[in-house]
Symmetry: C2
Subunit: 385 residues, 2 copies
């Protein structure tokens, strides 16, 4: 049971870990404590950070597992232990679309992340120092496996549903590929069966920007002197890809920042859209580990459902579920709507029961985080059916 697992996490805790965060140390593979990764690397121990809401039913049949996007922590919703709003506050709670009066909801920080789960900023037991560039190559499948093993630790053999937006949607697909008989319902939001070149280019460029910051130092940076300049620029580029041009046109048009907020430096921030990017990127930098960013970002580029069966559709045909809800957003340039259709059509072709929702939101890839009016009813109805 979740309440019994309170291993102290061995790594740094300054990234978004709160009183609501719980930890579980996973059991390793092959009778050792080693957690074996898809590309051959090993982690001598893996701790997973998670939060939960609601109560597990006596039959253990009401659990929902949520995988997050790249930058989110396990704090998806507020709780008594942490009353701060979570990243999906409008979605999760009593009487909400993901109803914690009905479901036992677990959100995990991804393996490789920096919000309590084992990642590059964790202490490597072999050296007593952060893994940094020694962290093994990480895949989406490894994140799914770590989430699965966490459930095992929590005594949950079967899930009601697995839900994932963005990177979390890829992890949810990987979960379905690896544990096809262990859950009933799949909700994939703005995900992809594999990254296409435009998206690879956007992410590769973010990684290269960080790597070009001399402070990155091949991944072996001082935790107190991180590559913040590179992280700031990379996050800005990420933000550009998360929103839709039309939203910014409506919000900012060509509005200028007030004169008193300008410093008179050459080429400084002048337009409100530049100020928006700067403000939001600064909020991120210092609260996210640069190596975690690199590892999670690359894992998304690597993920390819076709590796599970020879083709995307052969992979999707391996997914056995009662029903899937596939949601996409028409203005998403990073995980475009065509890629959501591909998931839905592949599952339908395999004979699965699929609900496909194309949301005409102006919020682009980030719509699931902000467009409550579009998202809440769809997920409410899915679980009500």
């Amino acid at each position: 049971m979740a309440e019994n697992v309170k291993t102290l996490h061995p790594s740094r805790t300054h990234f978004g870990v709160t009183a609501a965060t719980r930890y579980a140390t996973l059991i390793g593979d092959y009778g050792t404590s080693d957690f074996v990764l898809r590309r051959g690397g090993r982690l001598p121990e893996v701790t997973m950070a998670y939060e939960s809401w609601g109560e597990l039913s006596p039959n253990n049949d009401n659990a929902i597992l949520i995988f997050t996007g790249l930058s989110a922590s396990a704090h998806a919703a507020s709780s008594v232990a942490n009353p701060d709003p979570g990243w999906w506050e409008f979605m999760i709670g009593p009487g909400k679309a993901i109803d914690t009066d009905r479901f036992y909801v677990i959100c995990v920080n991804a393996l490789g992340g920096c919000f309590g789960s084992t990642g590059p900023s964790s202490i490597n037991p072999a050296t007593g120092k952060p893994y940094g560039g020694d962290f093994p190559e990480l895949t989406i499948e490894d994140m799914a496996k770590a989430g699965h093993h966490l459930l095992h630790e929590l005594g949950i053999d079967h899930l009601h549903a697995v839900i994932g937006p963005s990177m979390g949607g890829m992890v949810a697909l990987a979960y379905a590929l690896q544990y096809p008989d262990e859950f009933d319902y799949l909700i994939s939001i703005s995900a992809a069966t594999r990254a296409l070149p435009f998206t690879i280019a956007m992410r590769s460029l973010q990684r290269e920007i960080i790597r070009c910051d001399p402070k990155w130092n091949e991944g072996y940076y001082d935790p107190d002197d991180e590559p913040q300049s590179g992280m700031l620029l990379a996050r800005k580029l990420g933000l550009v890809s998360y929103r839709a041009a039309e939203e910014w046109h409506q919000r900012f048009d060509r509005a200028r920042v007030k004169k008193e907020r300008r410093k008179g430096e050459p080429f400084e921030i002048e337009f409100e859209v530049e100020s928006y990017l700067d403000y939001n990127a600064h909020k991120f930098v210092g609260n996210f580990d640069a190596n975690s960013y690199l590892y999670l970002s690359r894992a998304m580029d690597w993920f390819d459902v076709a590796e599970h069966g020879g083709s995307v559709n052969a992979g999707l045909a391996r997914i056995h579920i009662k029903k899937a809800l596939i949601i996409g957003v028409t203005t998403d340039i990073l995980f475009p709507i065509e890629q959501q259709k591909e998931i839905a059509e592949g599952l339908i072709k395999a004979g699965r029961n699929v609900e496909f929702q194309s949301i005409d939101s102006i919020n682009g890839h980030d719509a699931f985080l902000v467009d409550r009016d579009h998202f809440s009813p769809i997920i409410t109805d899915f679980f009500a059916a």
Copy 2:
């Protein structure tokens, strides 16, 4: 006459200047040699680099002026003096869409550029050193004015047509706003009346990447030790915005670079799309001045037709031409097709004769450079009418 103007250009010449490049020193404003810029700065002398093809008619009525995109030189087409293919080789020449048997075609390197025209890399006569960060604030309107003054030097009072793709299209619009009675036909390709926030964000981020390179040094860098790391990353981001996701999907999909081309470094290039960006960005870096990039890029963000009359449509109503050809590309994310429609509709609303062409090319913003099959017939027909 063009042939009589051969002022030696005072600045560095290692950027793309060839035997075909000609120079003209412009006459200044207010009876001085000073060229006064729109935002108040002054240049004590301005030299414009250009190339030309064809012969000026005895009546001086067959001249066409071409303004370029950000990164192009005046070498738009090959010639006896420089047989290398130009950046618009398929478009300009005897019997081609812009027919040099019929027209006297002039292509100018933009004021502020680095291919022979006065720009930040030119020698500041006051100091004997490159302007660098001392180059005055530059606008699209200044580029139009410099092109106009060049024609005056060449003895051409009236143009048959002004043509501009991308940034050059903005300059062509600025030319039409400032010299409405001095030419007959306007061809604007993938341009904009003003930059919208997504485009500003993409360009601002490129500028910030360059500025974050310590070698930029506020613009006062050693010409032999330029901020190449920043330029490389900025150019990659530019390239991402110049092409369409679908083109890359078709060209690269998820193809990997061959193992023997990999170095085994962490996070190195793995996908062909990354290799494409790297190859093309390296071709650019070392052949373009970082400060020129910053000044031209910012000028595009600043340009706003609404400054010429109070609104975009009031500005467009000031443009007096016999006919305009407005071309856009459906997959262009940087200068989207809606912005081409806006130009066309504004001119139509003002009673102008307008041909609007929406090209369904997969080449995105760069289509005018590569999609001969779509572009050549449209421009051929326009000049044949």
